[in-house]
Every structure is written in C-alpha cells, then in structure tokens.
Amino acid sequence: MYKKIITGAVATAVAVATFVSTAHAEDTLYIPALSYRTGAFAGGGTPFANGFMDYLAMLNARDGGIGGVKIVNEECETAYNAQKGVECYEATKGNGALVYNPLSTGITLQLIPKAPVDEIPVLSMGYGLSAAGIGEKFPWTFTYPTSYWSQMSSILKYIDSNGGLKGQKIGFIYLDVGYGREPIPLLEKLAPQLGFEVAMFPVAGKEMQAQSAQWLNVRKERPDWMIMWGWGSMNPTAIKEAAKIRYPMDRFIGNWWSSAHADLVPVGEAGKGYVGANFSGIGTDFQALQDVIKYVIEPGNTRTDPSKVGDVLYNRGLYNAVIVAEAVETAQKMTGKSAISGADMRLGLENFNLDATRLAELGLAGFAGDLKGDCVDHEGGGPVFMQQWDGENWVKITDPIAPMSDVVRPLLEAAADAYVADKPEWKTQTCN
C-alpha cells in the first residue's frame, strides 16, 4: 500500500518538475482568459467565457487571427477565487500575455498594482475598480465601456424620465460584497442633490438563495423603484421573491450583471416586465455572430451550447473580445509590428475607435454604442440602454442613456486620488 502511495508521490513530483511553461512563438498574440465555470457564480462565468473565446476563435478561423497573426487564447479556471486568480495570472503572464480580463472584482483589485510593474494592461469591462476609469492615475487599467457609477447614474436618469426621480424612494438591493457596495457612495451623494430617498437591502453572499427577509423589508419600506446589483443565483431568486410580494416588475431594474438570460430564464413568465441595463447587443442578428456560428459553433470547436449563442452574457463576453481585438489591431497599426507587446497593447487600448462605422465594418452594426479609447478617460463614459424581459426574451426598450458624467467624473477622480495617495511610487501619466 505504502509502496503505491510513494510511487504515486514520485510520479506527481515528476509531473511537477516537467511543468514547462509552454513557450509561445514570437508571432502569436497570447490572450489568456481568466474564466470561471465552477463555483457559486459559474452560471454567469460560463456564457461570458464562451462569448469571449468564441469570438477570438472565429477571428482565427475566418481571418487567420488579427493582422495575420494567430491568437492563442488560453483559458485558466479561477472559480471566482482570488487566490486561484493570482495563480492563473502568474502561470500565464510569462507567455507574453497582452491583456488581462480578470472577470472578477477581487482578482481585478489584485492585478491593478501588478499591471504597471509587469507592463500588461488590465481590461475590467464594466466591473472592478470604478476609480480606474481615471486614465491619468491608472495608465494600465481600463474599465471600458463604462463604470458602475456611470451606469447607476444612467439608471437614475431612466427613472427620472419615467415619472420623475424627485420625492421617490429608491430601494437598492445588492450582493453584500465589494462589488455590490460600490455604488453606495454615489447614491448617497446623489440622493440629496436630486431629491430622492434610498433604502438599502443587503444580501449576504451565502444567503443569495434565501432572500425572503429582504423582500419582506421591501414590502415594509414600499420603495417606488428597486435597483439591483446582483450576481449569480442571487438574481433569479430576487426576481422570484419580488414576484411573490407582487412588486411591479417594470419598476425593478437590474444592473448589467443582473439582467441576463441566465437570470430570467429560470423565472420565466413571472419576471415579465423586469428591466435591465445593458451595453451590448442581444441576439444573433449580427454578421459577426453569424460568422461565429459558421466558423466556430457549427464545426463544434467550442464548448458553447448552440442555443445559448446570442444570450446577453454571451454577447457581453463577445463584446469584450471585440474591444480586445480592436485594441490589438490599433496597436499593430500604430507600432507597425504584427506581434505586439503588453505595452503596445496599452497604446492600442488608449487609441482604438469603435464608432458606428467601425462596428458596421466588423459586422456588429448597432451592437453597442460608440466607444473610443482615450488617454484621460479609461472608462469610456459609455451609455447603457435599458432592456425588458417579455417573459421569454430580452427586448431593448430605450436608446442609450448617457451617464451623468458631470457628477460621476469628480467622484471617480476623488476615489482615484485616494487610491494613489498611500502609494508613493505609483506611476501616473500625463495626457497631452
């Protein structure tokens, strides 16, 4: 028996020793995908990762990569766990990673200080640290196309345009972790300015599926509107509970991590009328998505369930890949190199221009709002639009709603200053 164990241990040791970091030839674009298909939030992580990977795979299959250089897209499972995230980062960065999409606020926070040191930019698309939108303070971090705070301001504008905000009571139900608490300072600041009242309903991470107390409180407080910052199985549970207390669904608004197919399909008809924020297109009615289906899904070079292509989170992952690809292409053009470095990638991220024309060229006309890379503005200040669940699918119901940049921007700057304050050697940049 012990012999076997010892033999096993020796075999393991040999396996460790043969851990050879796969050398990637100079002429590839290495883009790691820190994804999570296991753990408590796998339901959201899986479609996002699928969209991201499928688009890059499509570029490889259709165009032979970007600028004639093949993309190597390696997935590393983080299980939404910060420790595994660091390990994934260390395991992949040596391969010449161009950009990290951490897909978790916790992991993003860990990577932000590492990015300038290792010279690999971080693109936390619509999550992570809102303050990182200040390009002068965070040269290596991007939150395109927008931040949580901008998004919240857009949602408030939506409420304002649907019967006014003044004198209203806004209920805010959120996952009680860093991510969910992030918009609270903005709400507290805006409430007196815009004359509304806020009621908070925190949901503890491990109580995601036991929310009856929160919704009893909602019934007690009777807010006029509900806004949700949820993730994973918190979302369908919240919507079900809202339906239980007969909360009017069209006054219940989820942020862009709380309004995906994965959240509403389990609820079905009961969620009819629920509103959600979004910044990427819905469905497969885009040439680029048709190409994904043709080059990737149909040949079966994917882990995606074909019926889920075009879902909200799938398309968001895809949009993330679109931004990455566009930045790569911009960087290639700017530097004249086909195989670029992380520093080049940073340039690309500050200079790409995904306007309507360009989106149309990419076969994504109307898929998202205009987005332009910028040195000062790493947030993109992008608008979000509202979508509504019709019982079976999401329907876009508004045009893009611009954020209240005048309010949000100073807050972002203050937060960025606070972040940098206790880091004496923090590298900032000056634009122009």
């Binding site: 796998a42 339901g43 109580e207 599926q209 107390a213 009893l216 007690k220 239980k244 399909v265």
Partner: protein, 319 residues
C-alpha cells in the same frame, strides 16, 4: 440612549402591532424556511442517531440530489422517472459511503469521521459540477405536480400572501416526518434502528447488522435531502450556493439536540421564525443582512447555557 432603548424594546413591537398582517407574513415566511431548515437538520439527526456521525455532507446531499433530479430531466427523462432514478442514485450513494468509508472507519474517533464527511462533501461538489455543470438550474416544479401560484388572505384590510409551494412544502415535510415516525415505530428495521441508536453493543448482540442499518439510515437521509432539495429548489433554484445555506441546520441541531427528531423540528422553527423576526424588526439596528450569522450566534449563546440542546439528554461523563 433613551432612543436606543426605544429602538430595541419599543419600536419593533409598535411596528408589529401597527401592521399585524405584515407580522403574520413575516412569521409565515419564517415558518416555511424553518420547515426547510428542519428537514435538512432531520437528515443530520437520522445519521447521527444511527452511527454517531456528524455528517457534514448533508448540505451538499441536498444540492446533489436536487441537481441529479433536474439534470436527468434536462436529459429528457420524464419527471417521475427522474425522481425514481434520483432515489436510486441516493441509494447507491448510501451504499458506497457505507462500503467505502464507514466500514473502514469503524471505531475511529468522531473527529476523524467528521473530517471524512468533509472530504465526502468535496467529492460530491466536484462530481456534481462535473456531471451537471455549475450553472443554476430551475426546479421542475410543475412536472412534479407541485403547485405554483399563490393565495391571498386579507384579514381586516391587510394582506397576507401564501405561496402554494410553501404550503406544499409544509404539508410534505409533515408527511415525511410522519412516515419516518411510522417507519421507526412500526417496522422491524425501524425498531432495529432505534436499538442501534440506544446502544451499539446491545444491538450487535441481538444480531442486527450494523452495516445494513447504516446503509438504510444514509438512504433515509438521502431521501430527506432530496425532499429538501426539491422544496428549496422550487422556492429559489438549484445551485451550489444552497450548500452553505444548508449549514443553517447546524445551529438548528444545537438548539434541538443532535439526537432528537422533535428537537430538529422545533429548533428549525425557532431559528426560521426567530431570524426573520429579528432581521425585519431589529436588523436595521445592525444595518440589516444579519441572517448570515444570527442563527449561529444564537446557537453559540445557547451552547453556553444548555450544551445538550432543548431535547438532548444530559451528558454524564465517566472515567
């Protein structure tokens, strides 16, 4: 200071009186979650009584059984056949646990057995995710002929909403408990089970196979887990985060005593109703969201004063 005392001792009760319908709703919601806690706790008690093992894997068994049921249905298996197969899976689980784990750990200290069940938890999480994926799944409520929708009761202009699935949960839990009680008192195996619970040595000497008994109790705990999984899944969804909620059964056990079936039920109801009342009426003092630890802290305080629980027997130590 005065206003603080008022907000602790006065205001909550005023609120209760002002909105009696709401109070009723709170108590009802607490009652239903209490029933579910009690169901999970019942699984713990069954195994603890028969084998002295504190089965940490009971929580993941709830998730695993629910996932198996839904997963099979997704593969196209008709709902009731899927239910039947899931029962089979739980039997296989009970059998393999007995054969591969328990049998080899007889006479080990309790703490070792407990840690083995934590290992088992890991195995079930991995297997569940591997086979059925990590995504949240919705329970096949209607296919299992469970009721949906709700009824409204309006006492004196108030509003109390009763979800049909909650009522069903209460009824099914009650039936399950009655069935278990009958099983324990009326069948030969059940009586043997009680004998084992009372005295391992004695039951061995009257010729009862301990191994057989263990398989049956683990299977019974599996059935209880499946019922809890279906009910909780129908109320929210089936996902791995249920596993941590299932740990709430632990404070329930502390209150009720590890070996007492009525204790599990009463403890479940106390925790369920107590935590809802506290969260709604006193929670705002702490900034709300205290459900995550309230039950545990209550249990902790309770432990200091009555370690054997409400219904447990006092432990007499000997040398």
């Amino acid at each position: 200071m005065g206003s603080f005392i008022y907000s602790v001792l006065g205001d909550p009760f005023v609120q209760m009186l002002q909105m009696p319908d709401f109070l009723m709703q709170v108590v009802w919601e607490g009652f239903v979650s209490g029933i579910l806690y009690a169901l999970i706790a019942l699984g713990f008690v069954l195994i603890f009584k028969a084998s002295g093992i504190f089965n940490f894997a009971q929580g993941i068994m709830v998730v695993f059984s629910g996932l198996t049921l839904v997963g099979l249905h997704e593969l196209g298996v008709p709902a009731f056949l899927a239910l039947f197969i899931t029962l089979g899976v739980m039997y296989v689980l009970a059998f393999s646990v007995e054969r591969l784990v328990l049998r080899n750990l007889v006479n080990q200290p309790d703490i070792i057995l407990f840690m083995a069940t934590i290992g088992l938890t890991n195995i079930l999480i991995g297997l569940g995710q591997w086979i059925f994926g990590g995504e949240t799944k919705s329970m096949i409520t209607e296919q299992l002929w469970l009721p949906t929708g709700s009824s409204v009761w309006e006492p004196g202009g108030g509003l109390v909403i009763f979800q049909h699935i909650d009522i069903a949960a209460a009824v099914i839990a009650a039936l399950l408990i009655i069935c278990l009680a009958l099983f324990f008192s009326k069948t030969k195996v059940g009586r043997a089970l009680r004998a084992v619970a009372d005295d391992h040595q004695a039951s061995l000497s009257v010729g009862i196979s301990l191994n057989h008994i263990w398989v049956i109790t683990w299977f019974a705990a599996g059935i209880v887990a499946l019922v809890a999984g279906i009910m909780w899944g129908a109320r929210s969804d089936v996902s791995f985060s249920l596993q941590i909620i299932a740990l709430k059964a632990l404070p329930v056990l502390v209150l009720g005593g590890f070996t007492s079936v009525p204790g599990a039920i009463v403890g479940g109801l106390i925790i369920g109703i107590g935590e809802k009342l506290f969260e709604i009426y006193w929670g705002p003092l702490f900034g709300s969201g205290i459900e995550g630890w309230f039950a545990y802290v209550i249990a902790l305080i309770f432990l200091l004063f009555r370690p054997q629980g409400l219904f447990g027997e006092k432990i007499i130590e000997r040398v």
